[in-house]
Amino acid sequence: MRKYVGIIKSGFKVAIAYRFEFFVTLITAPISLIVFYFLWKSIFEYTGVGILQGFTFTEMVSYYLLNLVVGFFTWSRIERWMEEDIRYGHMIKDLLKPVNYFFQAFYFELGLSALGIVVQAIPFFIIGLVFFDLVMASWINIAFFVVSLLLAHILYFLISYIIGLTAFWFQRIEGLSRAKKPIIHFLSGGLIPLTFMPLMFQDISKFLPFQYIRFIPISFYLGKYELNSMFTLLAIQVIWVLLLYTLAHVMWNNAFKKFAGAGA
């Protein structure tokens, strides 16, 4: 673990070097919140009901606010770094180092995320509590929220990492990488709560990894589930982490066998 501290630090330094971007996000992130606020305000007024698909207007605002907070944990651009590493042959070179590429990548982005979590996620959470009627959840819901959020972070990273590994076969993966973000965003409930989806989709969604990235953690916080269901959902989330980790491992070994010898 100790050798990875340096990697976390270097990720943090990169984040500092891009400090302007971080400050700018403080201004830009609330804009999408403002857009959603007005959109749902007008829809609620126009429809003339108090609850839409299980959400009151206040809950809806909380949903998008938590969505914003969760977003600082669930992101990754590791596939772009990997694409370059693979293309220029750094990946194979890294195999000779005594550090594991997977953990190196993971900790690097963890370092990058650290600044965002401190200067963005936490402040927004507090802003939500003070200005947007965000209700302080019960400690048990918060506990589930936090655990689920950390797992969501790992899930998102794993999906990106697997996309990154496909660069061994495809060389260029710009297309996949571009498609990743909006598709996950939509399927995870980043644009609209999943309760608005057709029932059939909601059923399928339980067995896909995506809703565990945003919708489930947020719903835990908002207390949308009984304790029993929460345990079940968390278990499924853990299973997905293990499944994707195994998949990444298998892909890595295959790629290594296939390309290391060829000097890729």
């Binding site: 201004i27 857009v35 126009y46 429809t47 698909q53 060389q171 996949l176 498609a179 909006p182 989806m197």
Partner: protein, 262 residues
């Protein structure tokens, strides 16, 4: 002028042939953009299925709105979005000089040499959505309103160009960073829904200060409900004002770059 169009033509030829080198990636990328651009209408569908919808717009009308937006952003994407991207990258790596060694005025050069094939996917989706709405709403192209609609779409593109000039210029003046790019894309979020969603303050901001409502709200509204001469003037003038300020900033940025050397 002939040379400018030659530059535009050649730049597109180069853009297309460089994508042909990685055909699979290209196909996936185009598909990705089409999916991305379909997500907006999909969310709209979910909203209209579950609620009374967005005030003042039926679902078909909203698709016309979204289609127009995708079209205008698509034009911007295809023609000018690469401008700040190239500039920021090159300034960061110290390669910007090579552009100044081209025998063109800097803005002209970038306007005619920044194609991005990704925009074509967006334009395609935009055209499909608009056409679908045209059929559903029984609109016709043989009308005065349609001419105004086209005119406003062109103005919408000009605004895209102005914003790209502004981002590029500010990137030169203050930070060699992508941050301003993000600011722009976040501000475009306002344009994703019609002005009827917002209150007066934001409508004012989106019409006069950062006139991005020209991208879809105004053209779609003009097509559906007509617009007065004064109405056109009111929404077109701010765009040209914005363009004017952007060009002024750009010239200032070039002056600063040329005296500091990046």
């Amino acid at each position: 002028m002939k040379r400018n169009f030659k530059l535009l033509w050649k730049s597109w030829a180069l853009e297309i042939s460089s994508h042909m080198a990685y055909k699979t990636n290209f196909a996936i990328k185009m598909l990705a953009f089409i999916i991305m651009d379909m997500i907006g209408p999909l969310v709209a569908l979910l909203i209209y299925k579950n609620t009374a919808g967005i005030p003042g717009w039926t679902f078909e009308e909203f698709i016309l709105f979204t289609g127009t937006l995708t079209l205008v952003f698509g034009f911007g994407h295809a023609a000018v979005i690469m401008m700040p991207a190239r500039i920021i990258d090159d300034v960061r790596q110290g390669h910007f000089d090579k552009h100044l060694l081209r025998p063109f005025k800097s803005l002209t050069y970038f306007l005619f040499s920044s194609p991005d094939i990704d925009g074509v996917a967006e334009i395609t989706v935009g055209l499909i959505l608009v056409s679908w709405a045209f059929v559903k709403l029984g609109l016709t192209v043989f009308s005065w309103n349609f001419l105004i609609y086209i005119f406003l779409i062109i103005i919408g593109f000009i605004f895209q160009y102005a914003v790209m000039i502004m981002i590029s210029a500010l990137a030169f003046l203050f930070v060699k960073s992508w941050a301003l790019f993000d600011v722009f894309f976040t501000l475009t979020n306002f344009a994703r829904y019609p002005l009827t969603v917002y209150g007066g303050g934001i409508t004012f901001f989106l019409t006069f200060m950062f006139p991005i409502a020209i991208s879809a709200s105004y053209p779609a509204d003009a097509l559906l409900n007509g617009i007065s001469g004064f109405g056109i003037l009111k929404i077109v003038l701010p765009v040209f004002l914005f363009l004017f300020v952007s060009v002024w900033f750009w010239n200032m940025a070039m002056k600063k770059y040329s005296s500091a050397g990046g």
